[in-house]
Amino acid sequence: MRISGRSFEHGNVLLCVLCTILVVSLIGGNVLLNCMTRYNVASSQVRSWKESLDAAETGGDIAYAEIRKTILDPTHAFSGWTHSGGVYSNSAVTYGNDSLTTSGKVDLFYYDSNGNPWYRIRTKGTAPVLGLKRVGMDDRMGPNNRGDSLLRKIDFNYDHFVATYGPNGDGLNKALVPVSRPQVTRRVELVAAPITPFEAAIKAGGTFYGLGSAAYVDSFRSTTGPYNASVKTNPSDPRYVDSRVGTVQINTSVGTIMGNIYGNFYTNGGTVTKNTTSITGIIDNNVPFTLAPFLMPDTSDWSYIPNPTAVTGNTTITPPAAGSATNPNYYLLTSFVTNGNLTVNPYVSNGTAQETYVAIHVTGDVGSNTGQGATITVPAHVHLQVYFDGNFGAKAENIINTSGYAGNLQFYGISPTDPTVQQTVNLNSGGSSSAGFSAVFYAPSANFTINGSPDITGAIVCKNFYSNGNVHWHYDRALDGQGDAVDYRVISYVEDIR
């Protein structure tokens, strides 16, 4: 009897203990379940969501590299990509320990007024979602909100984007496409814009010396009116903001500044010497950049006009048509003699001069720095681009651009293929003459020298810059969007959050 009574009492206590453990375990288990679910979201879904953007942007980098090749290495641009309907596509690239995949499409969607192509890059990046195949606990937060799922769209069974918007997001070819495993896909759209050469007044990949103790570099914007020397010292003038952007940028540490620079001065690791107080803008000695050799643009679709083929003495070009920025009148000149005199006239229709576009490729030197040098005359309405393989020599006063807009007369020095050959651009104003010119030079491999005291409107990109005259150099801010593309930069980014 006693044993039986004790047995009953023990069972009662055991039951109480078990019940307590059960209740506590249920509470604890529920908490653990919640924590596990949230951990699953944090460790797997959030990570995949972030990684998929990384993959999409990686795809953007891959596409961007191909676009840059269209300038820097044209023969290998988009090698291995498929081209259909004006769109380049690459097959999916898998990388990283988490098996991220990315693919992209590139299409040329716009030509600017210089005839430079703009590219749109659309890429998608996909990251697998590991862990539990379920949405998070915060999937619904309110009657009209969907918490996590509104932000992180996970494809557990089907690709929601293809099902809702079609593979290209244009509403066409919608389909239920199963996914092999849960995944997150994010899409970005980038726009790669051409970098035009003349974003600074003077840009030198090497050293800089100049311009002369009484010289100065300033700026204006031709679209708001002609150059006026008094604007840069008159803060109340509305054009004042454009008058102090005569930026000089060099990629070495050696810069000897003479005269005044109404703008910024950038070097690569330098300590600017001489008259730093005469620089009105920012002095930054930590602005490195690279100037790639300038290659002759692809001429495979250039249809040359037969004559002339050389500039010997006085030579006049009168194009048979107006042409356009993307399809100018092409000429091939095998020589431009030392004292050659070239005039390019506009195309005239019904007695009216038309805006005429001309591109000339000179396979040798243009003039020389001895004697008179080359003379080039460009009347109003003519937009001339001159590509030269050799050296350039002329007097500043003999570069005549009647329109006064520097963008209408562009010189491009093709970089020598032989690294031992030093290209030169030599301008001499001719004694005491202050007559100058309006033109731009892009010659990243050339040493640029200018003497005398010419009045110049334009911009120059060169290797080493030397000037010992009292040059007055006016940079036209309207030039920052002019000229042939020398590289590309991504200027627009948008994520397709559908």
Partner: protein, 208 residues
């Protein structure tokens, strides 16, 4: 025999009863207190995890919009963030949607324009304004008047953002803190210990 014996064994004295009831009460009180405390603790842990997820969500939302933004402005008290983002998707009421309702939800094609600030890429003449703000215990995201509650917690979530302007772009620093409910003291350290930081750069050139 049995009855007699049973009566003898089953009997409790008053003192025995008092002692046993007292002990039982103490044990029961201890058990109930432990249970309630455990439940509170579990609830606090659960809440902490939940609020942490909301911290992450706030940061993720903000970063996504900052990266595609054209300009970001933080209020003086650092409690709200306003940004403009490209109008990439055609929405109901847009001119394209009025002309062709089928285009709702579709992406726009970019256009290019040259301005005094240089070349610009636009998807629409106007941009979309996105505002992040605090309303009571909720963090709201408002896009073109449509309000989405992206976080809501009794743990006093507080996001603070600052935007830093650079030469051509800017970046936004964001921190989100909350006051854990199991911290009865309400000390500064309790809140600062939950800080989550993030920095996101605008991918676009800043406008304005």
């Amino acid at each position: 025999m049995k009855i007699k014996s049973s009566q003898t064994v089953a009997g409790f004295t008053l003192s025995e009863m008092l002692v046993s009831v007292s002990l039982s009460s103490i044990v029961l009180a201890a058990a109930i207190t432990s249970g309630v405390t455990l439940q509170k603790s579990f609830a606090a842990v659960d809440n902490y995890f939940s609020t942490q997820m909301q911290q992450i969500r706030i940061i993720d939302y903000l970063n996504r919009d900052v990266k595609r933004g054209l300009v970001v402005t933080t209020s003086v008290d650092l409690q709200s963030v306003t940004m403009s983002v490209p109008k990439y998707i055609i929405q109901a009421g847009d001119p394209e949607a009025i002309a062709d309702p089928e285009t709702i939800g579709m992406a726009r094609t970019p256009t290019v324009a040259y301005t005094t600030s240089g070349w610009q890429v636009n998807y629409s003449p106007s941009t979309t304004t996105v505002v992040y703000s605090i309303s009571g215990n909720s963090i709201l995201r408002t896009e073109n008047g449509v309000i989405t509650t992206i976080a809501s917690s009794t743990d006093q979530l507080v996001p603070k953002s600052t935007d830093v302007e650079l030469a051509n772009t800017e970046y936004a620093n964001t921190s989100v803190t909350f006051m854990p409910i199991f911290s009865s003291s309400g000390s500064v350290a309790s809140r600062s210990g939950t800080s989550l930081y993030a920095t996101a750069y605008l991918r676009n050139k800043r406008r304005g």
